[in-house]
Subunit: 257 residues, 2 copies
């Protein structure tokens, strides 16, 4: 039998935010290689008959190198229905590039199945439109990683109508705040930290670029949305909405701050 | 009965790329208000019992104003299970901001259900990682619309490791090319036009910022990915992959150029 590797986005956490295609592939997979960030609820969607391999890293403890993961994908993918399951969307901060190239070079069939990236899950959870046309015209999806050439990212390019979404901001909010200020963002620019978006442990914290430095830290995975779309009046309205809508099963257990 | 409005992302076109939650809500909806861009295949997922209202515009012919849409959402949402179905993701170029605010002000319960935004569908279709860490470190999701203050967007801010995703580039590729060059992007920077991503009519055209000007135009909806991730060798590998993988039902009818 000819195998194939499906690089599948697991979405932000809520298993109902898997695509129909992802559910079909997970229920029929013979092998699933998944990251540590894929939620436990999503893992329950995998066929009990499938071989399950955790290739992720947790708290700095690396389970497998990228080369080892590539080799496994090629080996399984030649003959078996193999799913490579990644948190969010595989093409956005999912390190799919090297795996795609390895599969191509080895002549193993593959397909990318998109997923709900963390930014989209967080925006939905926070009730904000990332491109609200009254205050925003574009979105920069970025991280604090240094650029390819080792240079620090150019934050000065962010215009007043750019919504900045910072993936994996880390636990040191003071440093995040300092780097955003150093990048030329105004101290009073609103932002919101979204922790464990769409999961039952979801938390939101509305803040500003300057106040962020003294916010209590929220559990990972977290994401920071910075820009006028995260403004205070939106926050207040959202808070009152959330507190009166707790009966909705989708948000029943959500803790909103 | 208490009603509620669900702002639901319809994804890029393929109904299998709907989320599980979207399918559940569409099959149980009493009223669905949808945009013109939502694919016919996705519309078949809606309960036959639901009242279906096309509020979109097609070829400049506007069916309803934003205020009229807001009023309908408030009116239906008070008492009925109402889905506001938008192409892609509601928070990214989906004009959800005004609808969210109108619902908040009217005290109507609502919830945002994220969808696969066009950029994610197109990247998956083209087989490229938008943040391939060897050549890209961030993604700018943008359009040619003018900024909030009427100014032309600042394209000069795009670094050599930024992947630029241009939503709704329009049919005049010569103008698109000129504006990208005017924004400081190199003439030989690779790009790929993805037309009707994930649908059976999907087409890809690999090009560069300069050559784009003379490319034959592809049907809307289309999206342009610009950056080193859209490089020629990736294109060639992808083309050979696609031509040898036509038997996969998911891509059987896809026309790849």
């Amino acid at each position: 039998m000819m195998g194939k590797v499906y690089l599948v986005g697991a979405g932000p956490g809520d298993p109902e935010l898997l695509t129909v295609k992802a559910v079909r592939l997970l229920s029929g997979a013979e092998v699933v290689l998944h990251d540590a960030l894929v939620s436990r609820e999503v893992l329950t969607m995998i066929s009990p008959a499938a071989e399950l391999i955790n290739v992720g890293k947790r708290a700095g403890h690396k389970l497998l190198t990228q080369d080892e993961i590539n080799a496994l994908l090629i080996s399984y993918g030649r003959t078996r229905a193999t799913v490579r399951l990644k948190g969010g969307d595989p093409t956005i901060f999912g390190r799919a590039g090297e795996e795609i190239e390895a599969l191509r070079k080895a002549g193993v069939a593959y397909e990318i199945v998109p997923g709900i990236s963390a930014a989209l899950g967080a925006a939905a959870a926070a009730g904000i439109s990332l491109t609200d046309r009254r205050v925003a015209s574009q979105i920069l999806l970025t991280t604090f990683s240094r650029g390819i050439d080792g240079s620090v990212m150019d934050w000065g390019c962010v215009t007043s109508t750019t919504t900045l979404v910072l993936y994996m901001p880390g636990a040191d909010y003071a440093e995040v705040s300092e780097r955003l200020l150093g990048g030329g963002l105004p101290a009073d620019l609103p932002c919101v930290i979204v922790s464990q978006a769409t999961s039952s442990q979801q938390q939101l914290r509305w803040s500003s670029v300057a106040r962020l430095a003294s916010e209590e830290r929220l559990p990972a995975p977290a994401l920071l949305i910075v820009g006028r779309v995260a403004s205070r009046d939106v926050a207040e309205l959202t808070e009152s909405f959330w507190s009166t809508n707790r009966k909705d099963p989708a948000f029943e257990q959500a803790s909103v701050i």
